[in-house]
């Protein structure tokens, strides 16, 4: 079947925003995720790292947050603190849910 690969072309890819849920523990170890495997684990760990750091820094600023929501132009990240770890919801925004 190698013959068919002659006709396949490498097309430039568009980075797809992660969508789904990630649960990380206090050490940013991914415990569970529903995000597509097309999204690399490094990306999820980076998100987890930033989220856990924000919770920790908020505590230092006398702001013990239990929930955080970051609204980007095309992505909404909601994180709920769970015993030092967090459950993170990733929801890309598109025309139909941009207001959410």
């Amino acid at each position: 079947m190698g013959f068919l690969s002659l006709f396949s072309k490498q097309s430039p890819g568009v980075q797809v925003l992660p969508s789904g849920t990630v649960t990380v523990d206090r050490n940013n170890k991914i415990l569970a995720t529903t995000v597509s495997s097309a999204c690399s684990e490094d990306v999820l760990q980076e998100i987890g790292d930033h989220v856990l750091t924000l919770f920790r820094q908020a505590r230092k600023a006398q702001l013990p947050l239990s929930e955080l929501t970051l609204h980007f132009s095309s992505l909404k990240i909601t994180a709920k603190e769970m015993r030092g770890g967090a459950i993170i919801f990733l929801a890309p925004k598109h025309t139909f849910n941009a207001a959410s």
Binding site: E46, L54, Q57, A61, Q62, L65, S66, F72
Partner: protein, 358 residues
Amino acid sequence: MESRHKVLIVDDDPAVLELYRDLLAQLPSKPEIFTTTSGSRALSMLKSEPFRLLLCDLKMPKMDGLQVLSIVRRSFPELRTVVMTAVHNEEFRSRAYALGVDLFWLKPDTQQNMEMFLQCVESLLGRDEESGFRGVQSKSLMDLIQMECLSQSSTVLRITRGSVNGRIWISSGELIDAETEGLRGEPAFRRILEWKSGTFENLPAENGRERTINKPANALLLEAAQAMDEIAAPETQSSEEAEVADHRKTVWRLASLTRAGADFVVSLPQEPQSKAEGWGTEATQELGVWMQQALEASNKLAHNLQAGSLTSLEGRSLDLRIVLLPEDDKTYLVGWPADGPSTQLAEKSKQLVSSWDS
């Protein structure tokens, strides 16, 4: 040598005049006392030299006290006026106050009343000429409007300065309209705020008044205060004046917080090394540091995920909700009580900070 204030007493009874002359001469400010038995003579005396205070009887032949006062209010708006009368009549009292008198006093009949009367007169003599709108209380017009807005009241403020008057409509603590000298809306409001002194009355609210002012009262007051400060001291603002202006801004911001129902606001300028400023919180610097960290983390995420810029960040703890808003030149963090309504918190925060630095 400090000049003594001049006081004019008008009463058709010479014996009363003599009595009050002796009494007022004992005041600590030692005013110069002048007396006359007729309203018309009083008016000509007022024209000939500056008086600080007019004490006027109500019942007098030819020209009664209310007639004298109505002319005095138009011609000498700076003059303090006191009605002294033996007539216990509510209608006269309200008419006198409607004319803008400072004090309506039944002629004292006891020693205690007499002492109170003298204290009131002394207090009227002591007030600065340039400041204070006179009414039931002596407050600046800005304070007055702010108080009405803060107390969420609905009223029409009628402000009188000499022969000119203006009206300001306040509905449920919101400034909705103003009118004076053929102007309406914001221009009228600004014109009224330019008046240095006058009298005010609270009239009943008018339901259904068309709204012409949409800007928050605090923003308009702040603008007016800044304009006045600039006029008063175009370039050489002393440190004391700067401190007063600063204090005023702080008061307005805290009033804005209270009105909006927010707990605190922290603002962080974009420039590196700049310090955060906070209102309603004691943890300003700590929160400023967290704001900086949150911005950096968000920017990295936005860049790596290609998720676009951060429009807002919301957070909640047991007793607090927060909204972080990155604006053009500053980032704001607004704290709200957790038990309040959580809908449209970002919108409400944007509204609150929209006039923060105006």
